[in-house]
Amino acid sequence: MLAKRIIPCLDIKGNEVVKGINFLEIHGAGDPLTLAKKYNDELADELMFLDITASHEKRKTLARLVRKLSEAIFIPFSVGGGISSLEDIRNLLNAGADKVSINTSAVISPGIIDSAAKRFGSSTIVVAIDAKKIGEKYLVFTHGGRNNSGKDAVEWAREAYDRGAGEILLTSMDRDGTKEGYEINLTSRVVKSVRIPVIASGGAKDAKDMEEVFVKADASAALAASIFHYGETGIKDVKKYLKSKGLHVRL
């Protein structure tokens, strides 16, 4: 039986892992390679690296870091941030990334999803969606959460799926860094609108929040950053808890 995945997310700025609250304040959390090895050993199912400054500073994601990571960890990892062309994707996959995560550029030119899926296979293409609740709707924000695209998040997820995305990384901007738990309603609506795995992100405080997003929203994976980086919660402890609640996890 397929296990529910726990994915620590490492937001990278320069050569450091950082973590913001509501996409704004940024606190240092450590060296990416050290943290990655630690999570690899603690039975993280996968790692997500987001170069959070790449998009607006027009930098390319750190291929060198990706190369080092692929020599040090033997679990899958995805890389995102500032990816805007098939060339970017190819470079990251060649450097050792298992998947790439596309956000802003997919919203601006959705055709990149079709061509990337066709060229590299759907299973290597993650479409990341940053969603914020405005009125009764969840809208898609781009450029690291600064620009409102006006797109409906649930419809956009469906379109990304139709175009060949292999997974959706769904972040609630309202919950990100707040430790109020995942946005169950948003996650559930996106899960129901696509037939690919959805990774829930934003707001995790503890294992209970993860249980909730698996049970109530049927997410395939739960992503978290700060609770792992600052040592508040261990990955194995989270998994033991989930297992005790009847969820299938890799332990």
């Binding site: 692929s70 996959l93 050792g96 298992d98 299973s123 037939r195 795995p197 395939s220």
Partner: protein, 230 residues
């Protein structure tokens, strides 16, 4: 310490993460080369055919690089061969990935897509339990298995690996062998072939290079094994 016991060549045909496979071999202490060179492939004691991407493109590239015959020769000489993911699928006769395409035809059977009527989420992404076939009970270690002689070769890839261990899968298609070569299965809404073994050919649908300790152990068994004992 990196040893060079066997000569392992990872076949480079432009499909995906070859470096990751090499890194994994390095981690278990064995040297390996990434190459598309006919001579190097011919001289290899062990070949690895990895791969991520489309079946049709992969076959086209293998033919274009004149690698089809060296691969077949290697296998017909009984030299150890490891197929991973797409590299497993290519060994079969045909695939229905975006049409009908001929494979290498070394193994009997075909490659099909998960049926959307049965499987709600495609691709199959993540960690899933791999069940070792042939008289092995859950939780029992393959090395403890006291089976018939024929089985020892079939189970060699799982030496030191607990039955039911998690491996990392990332695929939308799977192999349906029409000969009795399945040595491990996986359950994703229905049972499918996770590993095949035939003589000195071993192939797996999951990614051992991304499957943490169980995957590294499997690569170790291949790298340090010879003949059918890979």
């Amino acid at each position: 310490m990196v040893q060079k016991k066997n000569s392992i060549v990872i076949v480079d045909y432009g499909m995906g993460n070859l470096k990751n496979v090499q890194n994994a071999f390095k981690a278990i202490g064995h040297d390996s080369e990434i190459s598309s060179d006919y001579k190097e492939i011919k001289n290899a004691t062990h070949l690895v055919l990895p791969g991520v991407g489309g079946f049709k493109d992969a076959m086209k590239t293998l033919s274009g690089l004149n690698l089809v015959n060296p691969l077949k020769d290697h296998i017909s000489m009984g030299k150890p061969f490891l197929g991973v993911c797409l590299g497993m699928q290519l060994l079969f006769e045909s695939s229905e990935e975006f049409g009908h395409h001929e494979g290498l035809g070394i193994l009997k059977g075909k490659v099909v897509r998960f049926d959307e009527g049965i499987v709600p989420l495609i691709p199959h992404i993540g960690w899933n339990n791999v069940r070792i076939s042939r008289k092995i009970k859950a939780g029992e270690n393959a090395t403890e298995h006291n089976g018939v002689q024929r089985d020892s070769g079939r189970l060699a890839p799982f030496k030191g690996i607990k039955n039911g261990s998690f491996f990392y899968f990332l695929h939308s298609f799977y192999c349906v062998p029409s000969e009795d070569i399945t040595v491990a299965t996986c359950e994703y809404y229905h049972e499918f072939t996770a590993c095949i073994k035939k003589g000195s050919i071993f192939a797996c649908q999951f990614h051992p290079e991304k499957s943490h300790n169980a995957g590294l152990k499997m690569l170790y068994n291949f790298a340090f094994g010879t003949g059918e004992q890979i």
